[in-house]
């Protein structure tokens, strides 16, 4: 058994963990980051490819049990899900910050304070909008919205553009992880945390298992402070394995997405993800574009109809879009002794299903208005629609047994706030009942924000780091 001593142990290296490691190392603390997955060169693989899925995803796929099940994706590599997401960036909407502050009694939490941290993060990541015209897949959404008189906006992205307009996604392995290392942090990849070690009511480190070149080695990392930043699924699982329960794991929130593969009379780009989002029905329903390589197009087409070969042969004219909702229902993450992966469940209400059906129909309207000639919904046996009058059939087709849903945004399993009966940590991520143990990731958000949560996670993590440094 090898033992490492450090001042601060950060578990996880995604949006929350990378911010934590960077700011605390920059603040002069001795920081060690452990990451379960490998450290992969961000330029080594094409985005959304099979190769990337094999190397960087935790599961291919996993699903939250429920009716219907909801497939979900998580990154498992240095940089976490920032390595595999679309890179769309959005600050936490101000009205949500105010509502959460009041509902969960969160101290020093409001739009102005968070915006100040968000500005710093945006500068670090070069958050920007696309220079020049959007790609066709993105422009089509805008065209559809405009024809229908709906509001659509171009979301900023964590992309840095060169003078020729070529963009590179600013993942954590391109930005804050190397900057944390430059500031003195140590990153240990391929290292799974078995449990957080505790003594006399305080966290004193973690027991880990490192796998390197086929060799397995157990490792104890002794730390004065432990930050768990594994994301909304792994963080509660680690805490459960460590004997920390209470409200931990309850209240999982996701943005379930229902999709349409849309066929156009002209070719559509397939290299990235559209940055236009229809916000007309926000905050509870948003419409945007998905990854649309040939593999994703094939899966989307097959979800509605067994007769998709002809459309697949024309895949260069097909792009995949989604409608995503905020849900009334919620889920749970349960760490089960003996199982490597936690059990994840999610319950959608009838109102949620109705909202998904509305989203599917609105998405169909926008795509037909944009010139799509055929729409394949991610609904089993959902009729392929070619004209607006056909959309009416979709209202009744989004049922528990027929809807195929997925999500990439997972939050709220260790909520923060002073309302102790409904939260897992205090207002700054300090886990109730265990001194020197903190959570600093998507788990803390009291609810799903209705937009890509990366910006909110990073601003929140920066806020909590500043609080931590001010305590010392």
């Amino acid at each position: 058994m090898t033992t490492i001593d450090t001042d601060v142990l950060v578990i996880g290296s995604g949006a929350g963990g990378a911010v934590t490691a960077f700011l605390l190392a920059q603040g002069g603390r001795d920081v060690t980051v452990v990451e379960e997955g490998p450290w992969i060169d961000p330029d080594a693989m094409e985005p959304f490819s099979l190769e990337e899925m094999v190397a960087k995803y935790r599961h291919r796929p996993a699903a939250a049990l429920g009716s219907p099940t909801i497939a979900y994706a998580e990154g498992r590599c240095v940089g976490g899900s920032t390595e595999i997401n679309s890179g769309l960036y959005h600050r936490l909407p101000g009205y949500l910050a105010e509502a959460w502050r009041d509902e969960f009694d969160i101290d020093e939490f409001g739009p102005d304070a968070l915006d100040a941290y968000a500005k710093r993060i945006e500068a670090e990541l070069a958050v920007s909008r696309l220079p020049g015209a959007p790609p066709p897949s993105s422009a089509l959404l805008e065209r559809g919205a405009t024809k229908l008189g709906w509001r659509a906006v171009e979301f900023a992205r964590v992309f840095r553009y060169d003078t020729a307009g070529r963009g590179v996604k600013q993942t954590m392995t391109r930005t804050l992880v190397p900057r944390a290392v430059d500031a003195g942090a140590t990153v240990v990849p391929n290292c799974r945390v078995l449990r957080v070690l505790r003594r006399d009511g305080r966290a004193i480190g973690a027991r880990c298992r490192r796998t390197e070149d086929g060799r397995v080695e157990d490792l104890d990392i002794r730390a004065d402070h432990v930050f768990v930043c594994g994301g909304a699924i792994q963080t509660p699982a680690i805490l459960h394995r460590s004997g920390v329960r209470g409200r931990v794991g309850a209240g999982l929130k996701v943005h379930p997405m229902i999709k349409i593969a849309a066929r156009f009379p002209h070719p559509v780009d397939h290299g990235g993800v559209p940055m236009q989002v229809i916000t007309e029905f926000g905050p509870n329903l948003s419409i945007g574009g998905s990854a649309s390589r040939r593999g994703q197009v094939a899966m989307a087409l097959a979800e509605s109809s067994p007769d998709f070969e002809e459309a697949l042969a024309d895949w260069e004219h097909v792009s995949v879009y989604y409608a995503a909702i905020r849900t009334e229902g919620a889920g749970r993450v349960i760490g089960v002794p003996g199982l490597r992966a936690p059990v994840v469940t999610y319950r959608l209400t009838e109102a949620d299903l109705s909202r998904l059906a509305r989203g599917l129909v609105h998405l169909g309207e926008a795509l037909l208005a944009a010139g799509a000639t055929e729409l394949y919904p991610s609904v089993r046996g959902g009729p392929v629609v070619r004209r607006p009058e056909g959309l009416v059939d979709w209202w009744s087709s989004v049922t528990r047994s027929r809807a195929n849903l997925m999500t990439v945004h997972l939050t709220s399993t260790v909520r923060m706030g002073q309302a102790r009966s409904r939260t897992g940590t205090d207002s700054f991520g300090r886990v109730w009942g265990v001194r020197n143990l903190r959570v600093n990731d998507a788990s803390l958000l009291p609810d799903a924000p209705g937009v890509n949560p990366q910006g909110a996670i990073m601003a929140l993590a920066a806020r909590n780091c500043e609080q931590f440094l001010s305590e010392a």
């Binding site: 935790r58 599961h59 291919r60 699903a63 390589r293 089960v336 490597r340």
Partner: protein, 107 residues
């Protein structure tokens, strides 16, 4: 990957290229291994049950490879969610892998 699962994958792959077929099988095998245990456990139970059923129906005789494909097609259209989800899971994995690994046919 269980024997029946391998047969299902082989019946769903459309490429005649032996290398692509092997790579798709390898990908699906990896995906099943990477599944959370609670999902994989349920899938194994389904595979054992459905494999036995397919055997009884004579859909797994080497001389009749199309029989399994016909049976899978029927399961996919079944009103029983568990049957349909079973086939859809394998079809999604195979489709994605095949589209990624095999060059797109010239349009």
């Amino acid at each position: 990957m269980l024997r029946f699962e391998r047969e299902v994958v082989r019946s769903l792959v459309t490429s005649p290229d032996a290398h692509v077929r092997a790579e798709v099988e390898h990908y699906v095998d990896g995906a099943l291994r990477a599944m959370p245990e609670y999902l994989r456990g349920g899938l194994v139970a389904e595979s054992v049950t459905l494999g036995a059923w397919a055997g009884i129906r004579g859909a797994r005789k080497p001389t009749e490879p199309e029989a399994l494909a016909r049976l899978l097609g029927a399961w996919e259209e079944s009103p029983l969610g568990v049957l349909c989800m079973y086939v859809r899971l394998f079809r999604s994995l195979v489709l994605f892998a095949e589209c990624e690994l095999a060059p797109a046919p010239a349009s």
